[in-house]
């Protein structure tokens, strides 16, 4: 503080004593890993080769997993602003956050956030904020152009469907960076619940994005704004964030439109308010290079061709490179024309001043009317140019008003300068546009020309004309459509140029014939008079035969040199064959004599051959001509850098001098020694040639540098390439390519550069599009983003697409084939009719009626050609908001043509009408003989499972055929033939034109309805198939035919099995029938008595038999008892006997066992 900083005691190192000794010792033999290995080799020995291999593999896996496929870095030096999309459900605080961030970066307040807002956030970064509203169309479009997504989540409520829908859209179209922002955290009163909610939300967010995705907390509001410190932190996060390149974005040019002007003639609009509009759209170009006349898709509108592109001065430029940390107030720019901010806006040929913006100093707090720009666009009655011309503006109070012409003068493009050149031939002044680089040589030319003629008076012209003139500069290669511009310039010059060109062409043509001097003369022809050249010709006439060959060759060379700019030859003067201007002779005023134009026919209808006819001017017998290509062969002279001798010498220089470390001897290369000697010599007589020595020093220095560079290269080669992998090589290659890409066109001015590589990303471009539908302008709403998505070659076409599709697991229904579905694919959103199919084991693609529940399936659609591998998502409707998840399916494009045929199952049914043994005649399956002939040999089957084959058609009835089966059919059998029928894919491509709908209706687009919806809406109910209805089952009783056994067989059968023929009791013949007996009364009595006696007798008999039976039963029981007793006794006796026998056996065994050892 006061200069005297208190000194602290310094550490004193010990130089003697035990501590120093110890330290010395430790320093001397430092225990290294090597030592450890030597001391304890067993610990470091290979225990298991397999384990070692595994650890090695694992290490390598981890290493390679970190690699990404290296891509060529095509990011331009001045990248376009980063697109930050702020999404979230309504009332979550999106606009507030954008407002706070803008205030944080630019110190400006913005009222309503309309359209993209571009700001300069740092020395190397600009940001474009876009707010995404709750419409799914907007969400889809913005997900495709976003670099960073700020996903706002209402913590007090939790996640809403929109959040997950947006994340899924992102997933499909390439994942931009996603950062979650939790708001409404001040609604938690309890700290514990707050912490818990934060944690829960964080983990759920991580599973959706990736583990560790950044989630930002905005704790609460203060005066309707988020806390400054938190916003600042968020801003810091944004401004240092890195972005990964996404495939779709880097391969397509796109513009997020931040300004729109209607250029249609107001008169035309007045006459027909619904006429097609010409519109110019402005924005930063991103992604890839945009070419003029290329195709664009505007999501929500349709496909258009770019009619014109220009680049404009950057409205929000990065500050100049200066060494300072922060931006000053002037450099904190804000550009949001749709929100009415931006002040001065430039156009190709006009400058617009936003008046409220210029008054904003006085009325800063006033919220600007947001729809002003829109209003001005809609209410245009006069052209803006006319308005501009009429209006006068004073920038400061009390200062003079500014005219538009002055403004134009001030704001013209910096590179363009005017120079007035007096043209002697046309006696008028010509204005040449000069670019800074060319200024000098043009001046020289101008001087030489003014020498010839008197200097003309200078005039001041309007800038508009300068522009048209500027396009005719010879050094500029013509633009894609600029062949007519050249003609324009020629017209302007009133044939002057033509005559000049003729001169040149003529010269080039006959240069082969005229002499050398003449050639020289002809260069100054404009100065010389005709007489002089004639004189020369006479002189040269005598000598023309000398060295004819050589002269011809030289003349040819000169012709080659004098050839006009080759790129102008190629691109500039396209010869146009116009038939209309032919001079036709008329015969009697009616007929025309048509004579083929010889030269024209040669051009347009000559032989199409790629051969380059050889040049006959070179005679390959001559030695000097042969000499002219000597060095093309290895036997010729080599360049300095490649010659073997010089290379050897250089190596000698590098490695010639070295010092032997052992002996201390210094070896020097010869050349080095010589040089040193020379230097010494030089010093001795220094007074003489200081100049020479200076040069020498320069040379020496260069040589030293060269030497250093080579040594370094060699070192790098040795140490880097030793373990350079394929990956490293690839990366280096990409790096080199990227450098080349940057360096190639760097020195060119943008005007020229744009023609070669197209408009590069980062430029602020103005894209003009013709014939946009009037609704686009009339129903313009800045809250809905307009995106110009560039299309690659043949991406503007339409055709069949094969997709791999999966119903989204959160979608609650399966999808039906032929139900229209809205796809988001590439830039486009469109409705189409998909067919779902699945591949069978034999490679057949079978049509599915519905998508599988949890499986992938194929889908075929008629849609825009999009490169394979592009992801897509499908929705059933984009209208309104629904409670449940809206994304119906996701998938990827596999193939772009109809290479697979989708088939559906078709069963043809027939009935047998005649059955022989195994052969049957079948009818009803086909209608003609021809149809049958096509199916000859096809396998068929009955419902009961009898297989068969179609043999041959029968003549009657038509369509019937003979078929054989493996068994005999029944007449009741149904025969069917299983076949596959190809299905055609319906050709519906219906772009979602949501941007064309009126304001407030933009999220209500509905396209083709499904059959189900139609029926529901119209109240139609299908009459069900009567066959499908349930009816009471009435089964007829089955009657079986009697079994028929052949007679022979019957004879052989045993009686038991023989059929018994109980003849039905038919009527007996009268003679066999017994006569009826009619009894006398006496006889009746007798019979009755006999009957009564008989009954009594029977009764008695019956009684006795029952008694008898009972007795017998008793007897049997008694007998059984006795028997039982007897058996019991016997059993007992047997038991005893067996026991005895067993005992005896045991004894015997025992005695034998006992006796045995004794025997031994």
């Amino acid at each position: 503080m006061d200069g005297k900083v208190k000194k602290q005691k310094k550490h004193q190192q010990k130089h003697s004593g035990p501590k120093a000794e110890k330290k010395k010792l430790r320093k001397h033999d430092k225990p290294t890993e090597e030592d450890d290995r030597r001391r304890n080799p067993k610990a470091f020995a290979v225990q298991s080769a397999v384990r070692m291999a595994k650890t090695f593999h694992r290490a390598q896996d981890i290493k390679t997993r970190k690699h990404h496929i290296p891509l060529v870095d095509r990011m331009p030096l001045e990248p376009p602003p980063v697109v930050i999309v702020v999404v979230g459900p309504p009332k979550v605080g999106k606009s507030t956050l954008i407002r706070c961030l803008i205030k944080n970066f630019t110190r400006q307040k913005l009222g309503d956030i309309c359209g993209p807002v571009t700001i300069v956030s740092g020395k190397k970064r600009r940001l474009t904020f876009v707010e995404c509203n709750n419409d799914i169309n907007t969400m889809i479009d913005l997900a495709k152009v976003a670099d960073l997504v700020l996903m706002l989540i209402d913590a007090s409520f939790g996640f809403e469907m929109e959040t997950f829908e947006f994340l899924n859209i992102c997933q499909v179209h390439g994942f931009p960076r996603v950062m979650g922002v939790l708001t409404h955290l001040d609604s938690f009163k309890n700290n514990k619940t707050l912490r818990k909610t934060k944690k829960n939300l964080k983990h759920r967010f991580w599973t959706e994005v990736y583990q560790g995705a950044k989630l930002f907390y905005l704790s609460g509001m203060l005066y309707g704004e988020y806390q400054t410190q938190e916003v600042k932190n968020l801003g810091r996060f944004i401004s240092v964030m890195k972005f990964r390149p996404l495939v779709w974005q880097t391969s397509h040019p796109y513009v997020l439109v931040d300004r729109l002007e209607d250029l249609t003639n107001p008169e035309k609009v007045r006459m027909d308010p619904r006429c097609d509009r010409t519109v110019s759209l402005y924005g930063y170009l991103r992604g890839a290079h945009l070419k003029n006349k290329s195709q664009l898709h505007i999501p929500g509108v349709g496909d258009f061709q770019v009619s014109d592109v220009n680049f404009l001065p950057d409205p929000c430029p990065l500050p100049d490179a200066q060494k300072k940390r922060a931006l000053n107030e002037k450099e904190r720019l804000l550009y949001a024309p749709m929100a009415g901010v931006g002040g001065l806006v430039y156009d190709k040929d006009a400058v617009y001043i936003d008046l409220p913006a210029s008054h904003s100093r006085q009325q800063q707090e006033e919220v600007r009317p947001t729809t002003e720009l829109v209003q001005s666009v809609i209410d245009t009655h006069t052209t803006l140019d006319a308005k501009m011309a009429a209006s006068k503006v004073s920038l400061f109070t009390g200062s003079a008003t500014l005219d538009p012409s002055d403004l134009n003068e001030q704001n013209r493009e910096p590179g363009l300068q005017e120079e007035h050149i007096w043209d002697p031939n046309s006696q008028r002044e010509r204005r040449k546009v000069v670019f800074p680089g060319e200024e000098e040589n043009v001046k020289v030319r101008a001087e030489s020309e003014t020498m010839a003629e008197g200097a003309p008076p200078s005039k001041i012209q309007k800038l508009e004309e300068v522009k048209s003139c500027g396009q005719s500069v010879a050094e500029l290669p013509a633009f894609a459509d600029s062949n007519d511009e050249l003609e324009k310039s020629e017209e302007e010059d009133e044939g002057e140029d033509e005559s000049e060109e003729e001169n040149e062409v003529g010269r080039a043509e006959d240069s082969g014939h005229c002499s050398e001097e003449e050639e020289e003369e002809s260069a100054d022809e404009e100065v010389n008079t005709d007489g002089e050249s004639e004189e020369d010709e006479e002189q040269g006439a005598l000598r023309w035969k000398e060295d004819l060959q050589q002269k011809a060759a030289e003349a040819f060379l000169r012709q080659q040199e004098a050839a006009p700019n080759l790129s102008k030859v190629v691109y500039g003067s396209v010869v146009e064959a116009v038939d209309s201007d032919e001079e036709d002779e008329e015969l009697g005023g009616l007929f025309r004599v048509s004579r083929p134009h010889k030269s024209k026919r040669l051009q347009t209808n000559s032989v199409d051959c790629s051969r380059f006819p050889p040049d006959s001017s070179l005679n390959w017998n001559l030695e000097e001509i042969l000499d002219s290509i000597r060095d093309c062969f290895v036997t010729g002279k080599w360049e300095e850098g490649q010659d073997a001798a010089t290379l050897l010498k250089q190596d000698d220089e590098l490695y010639g001098d070295f010092e032997d470390m052992e002996t201390g001897e210094v070896h020097k290369s010869q050349t080095a020694g010589q040089q040193e000697e020379e230097e010494e010599n030089g010093e001795s007589d220094e007074g003489e040639e200081i100049q020479v020595r200076m040069e020498d020093e320069e040379v020496q220095k260069n040589k030293r540098l060269e030497k250093k560079r080579r040594l370094k290269e060699r070192f790098n080669a040795e140490y880097d390439d030793g373990d350079a992998t394929y990956f490293d090589d690839l990366k280096e290659e990409m790096q080199k390519q990227a450098e080349l890409n940057r360096a190639e066109f760097e020195e060119m001015d943008d005007e020229t550069r744009v023609q070669y590589e197209g408009f590069r990303p980062g430029m602020y471009v103005r894209v003009e599009i013709l014939s946009l539908p009037c609704e686009f302008v009339a129903n313009f709403d800045p809250h809905y983003p307009i995106i110009l998505g560039g299309l690659g070659s043949s991406e503007g076409n339409i055709g069949y697409l094969q997709l791999r599709l999966k119903k989204h697991r959160w979608y609650d229904r399966i999808l039906k084939t032929r139900d229209p579905l809205i796809f988001s694919l590439g830039w486009r959103r469109f409705q189409t009719i998909p067919l779902y199919h699945i591949e069978d084991h034999n490679g057949r693609h079978r049509l599915l009626k519905y998508t599988p529940q949890h499986m992938h399936c194929g889908a075929s659609i008629w849609g825009p050609i999009t490169p394979q591998g592009s992801g897509f998502l499908a929705l059933q409707s984009v209208a309104g908001t629904k409670a449940h998840f809206r994304i119906a399916a996701t998938g990827v494009v596999l193939d772009l043509d109809k290479s697979v045929t989708i088939v559906k199952k078709l069963k043809l049914i027939g009935y047998p009408y005649k059955i022989f043994k195994n052969t049957s005649f079948i009818k009803g399956m086909f209608n003609t003989v021809l149809e049958v002939a096509k199916f000859e040999g096809a396998s068929i089957r009955t419902v009961s499972g009898i297989r068969g084959q179609i043999k041959k058609a029968l003549s009657t009835p038509p369509g019937s055929y003979r078929a054989t089966f493996e068994d005999r059919l029944l007449m009741s059998d149904i025969v069917f033939l299983r076949s596959w029928y190809p299905v055609t894919i319906p050709q519906l491509y219906n772009p979602v034109t949501s941007l064309l709908r009126s304001v407030g209706q933009k999220d209500n687009w509905s396209g083709m309805r499904t059959v189900g919806q139609l029926k529901h809406d119209l109240g139609i109910r299908n009459k069900p198939n009567t066959d499908s209805l349930y009816k009471p089952i009435a089964r007829a009783k089955r009657r079986f035919n009697p079994l028929h056994i052949p007679k022979e067989l019957q004879k052989a059968l045993p009686f038991k099995s023989k059929p018994k023929f109980q003849q039905p009791k038919g009527k007996m013949p009268r003679d066999l029938r017994r006569p009826c007996v009619i009894r006398e009364p006496q006889e009746k009595k007798v019979a009755a008595l006999l009957h009564a006696l008989g009954t009594v007798h029977h009764y008695k008999k019956k009684k006795t038999t029952t008694v008898q039976h009972a007795k017998h039963k008793e007897f049997l029981q008694q007998k059984e008892k006795q028997e039982e007793a007897k058996l019991k006794r016997q059993k007992e006796a047997k038991k005893k006997l067996y026991r005895l026998m067993g005992q005896m056996d045991k004894k015997k065994l025992k005695s034998s066992l006992k006796g045995a050892p004794k025997d031994d």
């Binding site: 496909d303 064959a577 519906l988």
Partner: protein, 378 residues
């Protein structure tokens, strides 16, 4: 109905039958439809010639879903390209032009097919107007390899040789499919290290070949000792229907660039016959002429190289060419029409003490980022 309203029309229209192949090939690759009007409309024999019709038929064979409409007199052709399919294709080329005419177009299309192309072309293999099959084999294939078109089955095989006018030759061209083109920097051709060649003769004395070789060597030996010219005498069924002979010479540089020249005898019954010695000598001189023109790509393959550069990634490609041939100049204009790509053309004048032939042209462009949309992703 919706299609017409919402897809911008992006067709192109041309007059006359010149550069017929360029237009159709570029249309196929870019997907833009093309309309060619006034084809020989003022001619005594108006309309498309047989060889052009044959070419259109070949194009139809290798594509899938293309629409070709020709009016009654054949003076107008409308071509809406489909997708390139490839696969196995057999084509009997019309005898008015040699197979080279058809093959040049196939070389441009073949890498961008859906399935690898295997084309069997029958007809005239060698005639004086078009680049012969031998020339394309020795120069175009190595050139395409520089662009990353390589792999198994990248081959051009002459099965039978058939001279004009009878034909009867057969050529098999196989090419693998490729997803993207590699950007190239061919700015230094290097020095020529060897010269190879094929002296072919059919239905004439086998001695002809030797006579050609002898005379050609006589000229070229002034520059280089490493010259080897093969003699290729085909007999019997492989010799086609007409007699003839010819020579193809190829100079290879240290950096793998190929320059070539060729000459074949005048077809039987058309003009004066040529002595083999003269033919050998003249062909050698043509090669010297080609060396004089120089560049990394020889004059007949300029357009192929430029096309492959155009179709590359969005990176800078450079190639050094000799003077541009009229065909190439028109091709450049067509590339601008179809792909909106312009080349930066820089003329390199030879310095005083350099003995490396005439002036060269350095062509630079940024590729359009074309990727093969026909190839199936599994």
């Amino acid at each position: 109905l919706c299609i017409n309203n919402n897809m911008a029309s992006n067709g192109l229209s041309y007059d006359g039958c010149n550069f017929f192949r360029q237009r159709l090939v570029l249309s196929t690759l870019s997907g833009k439809h093309v309309k060619i009007k006034n084809i020989r409309s003022k001619d005594d024999n108006p309309g498309l010639r047989d060889f052009e019709a044959s070419f259109v038929r070949l194009l139809d064979k290798v594509t899938n879903g293309s629409r070709i409409e020709i009016n009654q007199t054949g003076t107008m052709l409308f071509y809406q390209p489909g997708l390139l399919y490839g696969g196995s294709v057999e084509h009997d080329c019309n005898l008015q032009r040699s197979i080279g005419y058809y093959l040049e177009a196939l070389l441009m299309l073949a890498p961008f097919m859906k399935t690898p192309l295997k084309a069997t072309l029958r007809g005239v293999t060698n005639d004086p107007t078009d680049p012969t099959v031998d020339l394309l084999k020795s120069t175009a294939l190595p050139l395409m390899k520089r662009f990353g078109i390589d792999g198994e089955g990248f081959d051009l095989k002459v099965v039978k040789r058939g001279m004009a006018p009878g034909g009867g030759g057969e050529v098999v061209f196989t090419c693998p499919v490729c997803r993207t083109m590699r950007p190239v920097q061919l700015t230094d051709p290097g020095k020529i290290k060897r010269i190879r060649g094929v002296a072919y003769s059919v239905r004439v004395s086998p001695q002809m070949g030797n006579r050609i070789v002898e005379s050609a060597r006589g000229v070229l030996n002034q520059f280089l000792p490493d010259i080897y010219i093969y003699t290729d005498h085909m007999k019997g069924a492989n010799s086609g229907k007409s007699p003839g002979f010819g020579l193809t010479l190829v100079a290879e540089t240290l950096d793998g660039c190929f320059l070539s020249a060729e000459m074949s005898s005048t077809p039987q019954g058309q003009g004066d016959s040529v002595l083999p010695e003269d033919l050998g000598r003249n062909c050698a001189k043509l090669l010297l002429q080609e060396v004089y023109r120089g560049g990394c790509v020889d004059s007949s393959n300029q357009s192929l190289a430029l096309l492959l550069m155009t179709l590359g990634q969005q990176d800078v490609s450079k190639v050094l060419l000799g003077p541009l041939s009229p065909y190439t100049i028109e091709f450049l204009r067509h590339i601008r029409d179809f792909f909106q790509v312009m080349f930066k053309i820089k003329v390199q004048k030879p310095s005083e003490d350099e003995r490396k032939g005439g002036e060269k042209v350095l062509m630079t462009c940024v590729g359009v980022g074309y990727s093969n949309i026909n190839k199936t992703v599994k």
